[in-house]
């Protein structure tokens, strides 16, 4: 249970944490992503993909060493927040704290603000604006912690987003074809080897959101809990890598480091499928804040 005094401080802890997470995500690639890139390097036999992957590994080492951003694209800031049901939290204040943390990261570090008005193209230079950062809220039963996952989503990969409202008669075959065709269309643009997120079912908006969750929130190497979906993930990952697009689209065995699927029930007359891509710097930083206000950082 939170005490009143801790609760009073909680919002400033959240603000500081949101700031640190944005900066950490841009510099410190999660260990599962590093392992996947290392493995890809070992798998490749041709000269070009090996050179490309070894440059990627070198870039990661330089980021560690010099505390420098890995990719220059600071992206659109996304926060995925899980609120324990036993926490006594004022949600609008929590959201404000995250927005302030994002602004402070941008101004104080400083970071490039990559966020602008969709028509006027004006940029507040704070990485924030109407409805941005995107804050996703989830609630966890019988829990007294706050978990914040931060993902900077770059444009090269986000521009390669696909949705199709298939019909049930097209079945799983239509779904598989759409995924393969989307990856081929994306090609070199989203800085391969990338992570492919697939959304299945739901409504159009939920389907796209599921694809995003699959692409950016799951550690690489994880499998869906549903064994049928997990089998589909493996089958499609193998198929995608047979395309041979390879690192930076210059050919090779590794086009995707992972392919993750998230699904939801859908309408009896619908069969939606969405694809969202995350580039090789699959940036992600996580923090858990416990009831006493202690913060633990992870990925």
């Amino acid at each position: 249970m939170t005490t009143a005094s801790v609760n009073g401080e909680l919002y400033s802890i959240v603000e500081d944490t949101a700031k640190s997470l944005y900066i950490k995500a841009l510099k410190d690639l999660p260990p599962d992503v590093r392992r996947a890139l290392q493995k890809a390097y070992e798998t490749e036999t041709e000269d070009t993909p090996r050179k490309v992957l070894s440059t990627m590994l070198e870039a990661i080492a330089i980021s560690d060493d010099k505390q420098r951003l890995l990719c220059q694209d600071t992206g659109i800031p996304l926060y995925f927040v899980k609120v324990g049901s036993r926490l006594n939290i004022d949600i609008p204040r929590l959201q404000e704290a995250i927005i302030r943390g994002t602004e402070r990261a941008t101004v104080e570090h400083p970071l490039r603000s990559s966020v602008c008005h969709p028509i006027k193209r004006t940029n507040h230079q704070t990485s924030t604006g109407y409805r941005i950062p995107l804050i996703n809220l989830d609630f966890v039963k019988d829990d007294d912690t706050l978990e914040i996952l931060m993902v900077p989503k770059g444009s090269g990969s986000e521009n390669m987003s696909f949705l199709k409202m298939l019909i049930p008669a097209e079945g799983i075959r239509g779904v598989k074809k759409f995924i393969i065709d989307s990856v081929l269309e994306a090609g070199a643009n989203p800085c391969p080897p990338f992570v492919i997120g697939v959304g299945l079912g739901g409504t159009a908006d939920l389907c796209v959101k599921l694809a995003k969750l699959a692409a950016v929130t799951r550690p690489l190497g994880s499998r869906n809990d549903d064994p049928d979906i997990a089998a589909l993930e493996e089958e499609l990952l193998e198929a995608v890598n047979q395309l041979g697009i390879g690192p930076m689209g210059l050919g090779g065995k590794t086009t995707a480091l992972a392919l993750n699927i998230e699904y939801a029930y859908t309408h009896i007359t619908q069969n939606p499928v969405a694809v969202n891509i995350q580039c090789w710097p699959a940036r992600r930083a996580r923090a858990k804040i416990d009831a006493c206000g202690r913060v633990e950082f992870g990925y």
Partner: protein, 195 residues
């Protein structure tokens, strides 16, 4: 596949010998260009205020810090090249640029220009800005600062590579080759997936 260490400015001969799949390391200087300054050059017809003969130009708008009269690098990365395809004929034909450094490749207009004038496209690893920033020694010049950060930049580089020759002066395009091969494999992939 050969490996070359080239010093700027590049000659036609330097570039004509490069074939897709070769590796290049650059020594000397490279120029940072991007949408806004290219639009000024070719849509508003303002000639660049610096000689680009034999230049290697990289698609970037760097993140910099102002320090007593000059600029210091903070984070320099490369952007997607395809939207600047239409400017390559002018860069190479009118101003003598020999190499474009970028990510994800360019299309027909650039392929034609590279063939006609003797040019190439050198693929850099996208997303590896920390590495790229390390390879850039200093910012030596800046023009059209009113377009900040999309000014024209001059960077001193050392051991700038590996860059992969992805488009050459014979009209070969590695991205097209890779995609064509992927398309050839589609039937087989569909079959295995039961499509």
């Amino acid at each position: 596949m050969a490996e070359y260490r080239l010093t700027t400015p590049l000659s036609e001969e330097d570039v004509r010998k490069l074939k897709v799949g070769d590796t290049v390391f650059l020594e000397g200087t490279i120029f940072g260009i991007r949408d806004a300054n290219l639009i000024r050059m070719f849509e508003h017809n303002v000639p660049p205020p610096v000689d680009l003969t034999g230049a290697a130009c990289i698609h970037t708008a760097p993140n910099v810090r102002k320090v007593n009269g000059g600029y210091e690098k903070v984070c320099i990365g490369t952007t997607t090249s395809s939207r600047m395809d239409r400017f390559t004929p002018g860069l190479m034909g009118q101003y003598g640029v020999r190499a474009i450094i970028g990510k994800a490749g360019m299309m027909e207009a650039s392929m034609e220009a590279m063939k006609k004038y003797g040019g190439c496209y050198l693929a850099i690893v996208g997303g590896a800005a920390s590495w790229e920033t390390e390879k850039i020694q200093a910012i030596e010049g800046v023009w059209w600062e009113d377009l900040m950060p999309e000014a024209i930049w001059k960077f001193r580089v050392r051991d700038f590579g590996p860059l992969i020759v992805a488009m050459d002066s014979e009209g070969n395009n590695m991205y097209y080759q890779v995609k064509a091969r992927a398309r050839d494999r589609l039937a087989d992939i569909y079959k295995r997936l039961g499509i």
